[in-house]
């Protein structure tokens, strides 16, 4: 679903955020992405979302090379990617329903269709009864689930999550992870960027570890990275 081929990113400041990073995420696989702050996690996500462009190398999403994409293709790319944020990025001037419906409204779905799909997504995350509420009335875990419903409402083949369990207790984190597992099971490629070592240890999934822009680990073998792995022993 995603392929990075020797991708480097150097910012105008001269900082090398990513150095010749290569990996592939197949459909239906759940992958963790980890590394300390500044290791390049955010840059990697920004490159997939085309918020930034790589300095070198190729990124393929689906079978399409992002290097060939002009700025006007960016919205269409983003419609294929569900994005879950640590701070949820919900809009508090509208209901839960309208928050989840936003990607469908933007993509131009007929009204009747929107209602069905939004309710299906809310049902999936267990918030069907709260569709009329303002998200500000919901708990942190519920807000995160609204964010997930919005990310998956138009059934994207790729789901990115940036610290999705950052502010949640272990029980709520487990609920969120269960949802991600469900999406992977139906064929969605899920990439979860996280600092949460306990989360990574609990679920033995494939793990990508970044350090100073280099991909230093890719696999399930030593599933629990140590602080040494991040900072260099």
């Amino acid at each position: 679903m995603i392929k990075f081929d020797r991708v480097s990113k150097r910012y105008a400041s001269g900082k090398d955020a990513l150095r010749r990073v290569s990996f592939e995420l197949p459909a239906g696989q759940l992958t963790f992405l980890t590394g300390h702050s500044g290791a390049g996690k955010s840059t990697l996500l920004k490159l997939i979302m085309m918020i930034e462009r790589p300095t070198q190398g190729q990124i393929l999403v689906g079978r399409q090379n992002l290097n060939g994409f002009g700025n006007r293709h960016i919205p269409l790319l983003r419609r294929k990617i569900g994005m879950v944020h640590q701070n949820h990025q919900l809009l508090f001037d509208r209901s839960v329903f309208d928050n989840v419906a936003l990607p469908l409204v933007i993509a131009g779905f007929p009204k009747a269709d929107i209602g069905k799909r939004v309710r299906a997504a809310l049902d999936k995350v267990g918030l069907l009864s709260k569709e009329k509420q303002n998200p500000i009335m919901l708990s942190g875990g519920e807000q995160q689930r609204v964010g997930i419903a919005r990310a998956v409402v138009n059934k994207p083949p790729l789901l990115l999550a940036d610290e999705p369990t950052g502010n949640l207790d272990p029980a709520l984190s487990a609920e969120i992870m269960d949802l991600f597992h469900d999406f992977a099971r139906v064929g969605v490629a899920v990439l979860i960027a996280t600092h949460d070592l306990s989360l990574i240890a609990r679920y033995r999934h494939r793990l990508l570890t970044l350090r100073e822009g280099n991909l230093i680990h890719d696999g399930v073998e030593s599933a629990t990275p140590t602080a040494g792995d991040w900072y260099g022993a």
Partner: protein
Amino acid sequence: MARNPKRPAGARSARTSLGDHFTAWRHHHRDSLADALGRMRGTPGSTLLTILVIAIALALPTGLSVLLDNARVITQGWDGRAHLSVFLKMDIKEERQRALAKDWAGLDGVADTEVITRQQALDEFREQSGFGDVLEALPDNPLPPLIVVFPSNNEPAALEALQQRLSKVPEVDLAQLDVAWVRRLHAIIELGQRLIGVLTLALAAAVVLVVVNTVRLAIESRREEIVVIKIVGGTDGFVRRPFLYSGFCCGFAGGLGALILVGTALWWLGGPVNQLLDLYKSEYSLTGMSPATALILPLFSGALGLLGAWLAVSRHLGEIEPQF
């Protein structure tokens, strides 16, 4: 890792047809307009202030140009053809006056002549000036016989040559060229028009800037929403549309406001001005705006609002990008 054979091939992305897209595009235009109006209603204070500023800025040149149009209509009667007023000596008899007029009509450079006898001049003066009673009190008719000479050539040099020539005729007291002051008046009106043009440009720019600022603040207050829309794949057009509509609506409402202001001012001035014109026995009365002006002004103002919104959006929307 062995793949699970029972696993489905993959989630299918939701797809939409071209017809759906068109319907959605239409709906989004309608929703954007509704959204723009809703937000204007949501902040009545600042919206009203913006509209009022635009209305005042546009009322000024509009009002002035209406007054200038009136001035032009009133002076049109004076404009006419350039002519020479040749006043004869008081003792010239009517027969001699008519003979002279006939002679001059045959001169080179003269198209026509018109005789105004002393009695005709008196009657006309009495009728137009309102000083009839004063004239009654005078023992004699103080007005000289007059021949109005219409030249065939309106060139200033030819007119002056003709004036010189007629001045030398012994019966002539004074040959007066009645064209200089008309020219001056026209020059003043022309100047007024230019000034209104400059004023219109300056105030139109002010309208655009007012809308730029209003929309800039609106963009700033909706920053989070714009970020979310961009993340979930909203096009720039989708983000831009509500702001463009609100710019147009502000401009349009401001234009209507300007119409109301100018209309009120004309109504308020109408009474005294018509009274004044009446005192001068003028048949003119103050005319208001033409229907074309009333139609064009709000649309023009709406276009200025649209331009302002466009400038603000293209300047500030690019700065708002999703961050992680």
